[in-house]
């Protein structure tokens, strides 16, 4: 089994557009959306399947029993997260470490389960799609990403290929998604922000020893920057596997709940198809 993970560093470069097209083109049977903060893949990929939804319990939260509390203040004093004020715990700041619970002389604090999101699994006869939604303000995104992948891999036992749509940034959800990936495709764009964030995500992936390749979306928006990206990747020996032109059809496709692949004559779809063939033949095909 090969795991292809799609990242970008910066938001809005086209991860989900590329991921959904790849899933269709490769007739992929097992795929996931690890952007638990702002999941979008299900909008174009759920194919009228109904998901099985389960609560996800990330970190426990502390709860103070007022009938036992003697207002000694030890919990507030020792909480490093500023989560306790006036002998009450704020669920948004509590990270479930358990210090208050351990330190309370009255055993007034207990740790309780807290649903910090929901896991969704779409299954049909031959396909499985795993995704999730983090509850607002929650901090367990890395853990939830790990759960999304675990849920997928449990069902995808004989898949040759797994495609994972990742999240923006370089923090915990991204790091959690990198673990176990065979190949990271970085979708970048030719803007100063796109280049800056691409460099950071390459550095992050390298720290975890994962192979990276790059494709440039909306490459014709600023040719000078496209050339800069290619020169930089060349210099650090990261292959650039293709360019995708700016194409309004992509917006039309999204607004019709469709993958760009369904608009086969569009410039973007043709470019993505070429890129997919390049990736499949050079990096995923078991030789």
């Amino acid at each position: 089994m090969k795991q292809l993970l799609i990242l970008s560093g910066k938001g809005g470069t086209g991860k989900t557009t590329v991921a959904s097209a790849f899933i269709k083109l490769s007739n992929c049977k097992s795929f996931a959306d690890c952007d638990v903060d702002a999941p979008n893949l299900h909008l174009v990929m759920s194919e009228n399947m109904e998901p099985v939804i389960n609560d996800f319990y990330g970190f426990q939260k502390a709860f103070i029993d007022n009938s036992k509390c003697i207002n000694c203040g030890l919990c507030e004093e020792n909480c490093h997260f500023g989560a306790i004020r006036n002998f009450e715990v704020s669920v948004y700041e509590c990270e479930g470490c358990g210090v208050c619970c351990e330190i309370c002389p009255q055993n007034a604090v207990s740790m309780t389960e807290y649903a910090s999101g929901s896991l969704k699994l779409y299954k049909s006869q031959n396909k499985v799609f795993s995704t999730a939604k983090l509850k607002m303000g929650s901090g367990a995104s890395g853990k939830l990403v790990t759960a999304v992948k675990k849920q997928l891999l449990k069902e995808a036992h004989n898949s040759e290929l797994v495609i994972i749509d990742g999240s923006p940034g370089i923090g915990c959800p991204v790091i959690a998604s990198i673990s176990g990936a065979n190949l990271v495709l970085i979708v970048t764009e030719p803007t100063v922000s796109g280049i800056h964030d691409m460099k950071r995500i390459i550095k992050t992936a390298k720290q975890f020893g994962t192979a990276c390749i790059v494709c440039i979306n909306k490459f014709d928006v600023e040719m000078d920057n496209t050339k800069k990206i290619e020169a930089y990747c060349n210099e650090i020996q990261i292959p650039v596997v293709g360019r995708i032109p700016f194409d309004n059809t992509v917006i039309k496709a999204v607004n019709n709940f469709k993958s760009i692949d369904e608009y086969q004559d569009s410039k973007a779809a043709k470019a993505i198809k070429t890129i997919w063939n390049t990736i499949y033949e050079n990096y995923l095909l078991s030789k």
Binding site: G11, H80, C97, G98, M136, G142, N255
Partner: protein, 286 residues
């Protein structure tokens, strides 16, 4: 006033709107007020690429992690049993500490019966303060390989002045870093793009505001003249204030891709963002 600029998803134009609002505030700001731009998107801080601040003062941001004195550790495993994040493990007569997964709760240090653990400072990123035109620029930057930017944001926000116009460029989404960024603001401005993805994520952040009871409005970015705009429909259905519609414009795309600030390059955009700023001041006073 403090204005947070947010969006459910990445790439809708938060940094574009934030940077231009800060620059529009320069001319609007009287001499006794400040224009301040703050980049809280610490995983992908891009404001500096446009504002190009000078006179940079850098300071490291540290988190506290435990360090063990092996001569005192008796291998009782109280610390590793206590740790909810599996940041400590006692293996082959030695205590191993995995700094990357430590949440800095301090529990292991407090509860070690031998007092074998001490605090150590570990740098996870930097805060930069500089100046661009008349705008003070604060920017948080998380080191690659680090999991959480929250400590950087927590250190950034107390540095901000209470008067003048303070524009906070937030991370995408609605997770812990976003909550942290908007805790103290007067007004939240959502940047939405005209796609179903945009609406889907807009609706999530909308829930967050209702929860936090923050006043908010929406800027619709990249609007195409004769295409339908699902985000606009969503705002109308939910009676959300639309502050402004910014058209999709290749000129903005060009300026943005080169790291130039539209307000500083183009009179039309200067007027547009000054208008947005005026509306925000009026909205937040209501």
């Amino acid at each position: 006033m403090k204005i947070a600029v947010l969006s459910g998803k990445g790439g809708t134009g938060k940094t574009f709107v934030s940077v231009n609002l800060a620059c529009a505030a320069e001319s609007a700001a009287q001499s006794n007020l400040n224009s301040v731009y703050v980049d809280c998107d610490v995983e992908e801080p891009n404001g500096n690429l446009f504002l190009k601040p000078t006179n940079i003062k850098k300071s490291g941001v540290n988190v506290t992690v435990p360090v063990v004195d092996n001569t005192k550790c008796t291998g009782c495993r109280k610390c590793s049993d206590f740790c909810k994040y599996n940041a400590l493990a006692y293996v082959k007569d030695r205590l191993l500490i995995f700094n990357e997964v430590c949440h800095s709760c301090g529990g292991c240090i407090i509860f070690c019966p031998q007092k074998a653990l001490k605090e150590r400072q570990r740098e996870i990123g930097v805060i930069e303060e500089g100046i661009s035109g008349k705008t003070t620029v604060f920017s948080g930057n998380l080191n690659t390989g680090e999991v959480s930017g929250v400590p950087i944001i927590k250190e950034l926000l107390p540095k901000l002045p209470d008067n003048g116009s303070v524009i906070i460029d937030c991370p995408p989404g609605s997770a812990c870093t976003v909550m942290e960024s908007i805790r103290q603001v007067d007004y939240c401005l959502l940047v939405a793009e005209p796609t179903l993805f945009g609406v889907h994520n807009l609706s999530m952040v909308y829930e967050l505001f209702k929860l936090l009871k923050k006043p908010f409005g929406v800027v619709l970015n990249k609007c195409l003249a004769d295409e339908e705009n699902p985000s606009e429909q969503f705002c109308k259905e939910n009676r959300i204030t639309i502050i402004e519609k910014i058209p999709y414009d290749k000129e903005i795309g060009r300026l943005n891709s080169q790291g130039l600030v539209a307000v500083r390059e183009n009179g039309t955009y200067k007027e547009l963002f000054e208008r947005i700023l005026d509306k925000l001041v009026k909205e937040s006073l209501q």
